[in-house]
């Protein structure tokens, strides 16, 4: 306080607040979302340390036992610990979600930036293709890709499942990136870059893409939520992750429906895990949008 009093001129200058602190202060809900995401990340990274049981170990002695001190969320029809399977399932969900959201948004953003930058015939062609891709409901497109490609596992992750989830994200990001690029292309600094004789790729990569980072980050977060939901739905249908790999959607599928009355925890907890994850990413994405895009601030 003493220093402020002796240098009043400094006090009149607006202080630049820490952006992270600003985010926490202005977007408390987003922070809640972020903390939940962090929890899942911890689950995924330290799954082996956190889960009390091996997620795939079958124990017929403990079949369908309810939530207890030993089995926090109960066990399934093979005596596998539901809590451990949920912890390991977050690994599947996050891996599939992050890879497909980042891949889909990156490809979409680059195509969108190029379409907006070049305009004309290239843009027209890309827009028609995007139109066609957008006329398939997300899950329909993903299911066709799953059917067409079958399974190809790499490092324990089904690459074709990721491809199936990535594909529907691309046109959605493309639309957003193109719209942002169109308003950028009209700006003087792009003209200046052109006048300086920079190549198209340099202008797109160095001048346009840094300026569409905000919508990109928002879309990545929103796509994460969508990807997790889509993976769960596909696994539920038996078209995504397969047994014995622990995945939330898979835990709800197949014969688990036979145990509605005897073991409701088998249905309750995996669904809660999906819902909470999707909720967190949606919340975080919304807050990120409010925070990064002042136009939408209320």
């Amino acid at each position: 306080m003493a220093t402020v009093a002796t240098t009043p001129s400094v006090d009149t200058l607006p202080k630049r607040a820490n952006p992270l602190w600003q985010f926490i202060k202005s977007q408390p809900l987003g922070m809640v979302g972020f903390l939940i995401i962090l929890l899942y990340v911890v689950f995924a990274v330290a799954a082996a340390e956190i889960s009390p049981f091996d997620p795939e170990s079958i124990d017929f002695g403990a079949m369908l036992s309810g939530p207890s001190h030993e089995h926090l969320f109960g066990t399934d029809q093979y005596g596998r610990d539901v809590f451990s399977r949920i912890v390991y399932g977050s690994r599947t969900a996050l891996a599939v979600g992050i890879i497909s959201a980042v891949a889909g948004c990156t490809i979409g953003a680059l195509i969108g930036a190029a379409a907006g930058y070049f305009g004309g015939r290239i843009d027209n062609l890309i827009q028609r293709v995007v139109d066609i891709m957008l006329s398939f409901p997300i899950i329909v497109l993903a299911m066709v890709v799953v059917a067409v490609l079958g399974k190809r596992t790499l490092l324990g992750i089904d690459m074709n499942l990721i491809a199936a989830i990535t594909l529907p994200i691309i046109p959605r990001m493309e639309r957003v990136a193109r719209a942002s690029t169109l308003s950028l292309v009209a700006m003087p600094f792009i003209d200046a870059a052109r006048a300086a004789g920079y190549s198209h790729s340099r202008i797109i990569l160095r001048h346009i893409t840094p300026n569409i980072v905000a919508p990109y980050l928002i879309m990545v977060s929103a796509s994460m939520a969508q990807a997790i939901l889509l993976e769960a739905s596909l696994s539920f249908l038996g078209l995504g992750v397969t047994e014995p790999t622990p995945a939330w959607g898979l835990m709800l599928s197949g014969t688990s429906a036979d145990f509605y009355q005897t073991a409701p925890w088998m249905i309750l907890f995996p669904g809660l895990a999906i819902t909470l994850a999707v909720f967190a990413f949606n919340l975080f994405g919304d807050s990120l949008r409010d925070w990064l895009d002042p136009k939408l601030k209320s």
Partner: protein, 317 residues
Amino acid sequence: MIWFIIRRLLLVIPTLIGVAVAVFFLIRVMPGDVVVVKLRADGANVSDETIQLERQRLGLDKPLYVQFADYMVGLARLDLGKSLWTGESVNKEIALRMPVSFQIALMASFIAVLIAIPLGTISALYRDTWIDHVVRVVAVSGLAIPSFWLGMLMILGLLLLFNWLPKIGYVSFWEDPVANLSVTIWPALSVGYRYAAVATRMMRSALLEVMREDYIRTARAKGVWTRLIMRRHALRNALLPVVTVIGLEFAFLIGGLVVTEQVFSINGIGKLFVDATTRGDFNLLQGLVLFIATIFIFVNLLVDLLYAWLDPRIRLS
């Protein structure tokens, strides 16, 4: 308006053709042989000749361009070909499963609109009060809860509370409305929740936006009743984005239905689609994808037309 409709209808044609071509090529890349899978299903000993004959019968031995030509000619006659699994015509398979899915989709949309418009309005009018907070939490949850899990929770709740399960099997509404509704209401509610949630959020933000407009302030300054302002000025303008989002969300509705039909063992389009995918029945898959995409395109067309009807600026531009 007539010209606007004609122009929009003509624009649909290239999209439909594009979708048809995309579907064909997307699906024909599929590895694996449906004939082999089907005939040698249970390790049955089937000779290569039989398989070749079956392939010939289904027209799978022809070169790709011939298959493509057949497919496009068939499409021109609205014929989607035959299912590779059952041998039935795809049109017939779809027609058989269509009514129940259509009814559920319609009910879900109806539920969504019925909930979203009043809820969104209340939320906007009582902004930042506890009512608003409750509505927003309900809406945000609707985006996060997978519809199939919501369906499972409903079954669980019905079982625990009433020891009653929704019956399996579809009865036409005209035959027995009560039996029909007791089957279809649950999936309609499960997929309708998300639909309602999205529309509620849109309704709220659109109304908040409109309420900030100058013409609303002018109306207030003139001393017009709030209720009249809402009815005459605010709601009408706020409905525009809601209509758009209802059209866009229709895709999610179909997607939700694909998964939710499994939960309730409903033999609709969604079930057929899942079966076609797991069996590798690509004629059926192709027909179904095309069918779903076409419906989606026409729903969006309808939304566009509705939008133009509501907002004269669009059809005149």
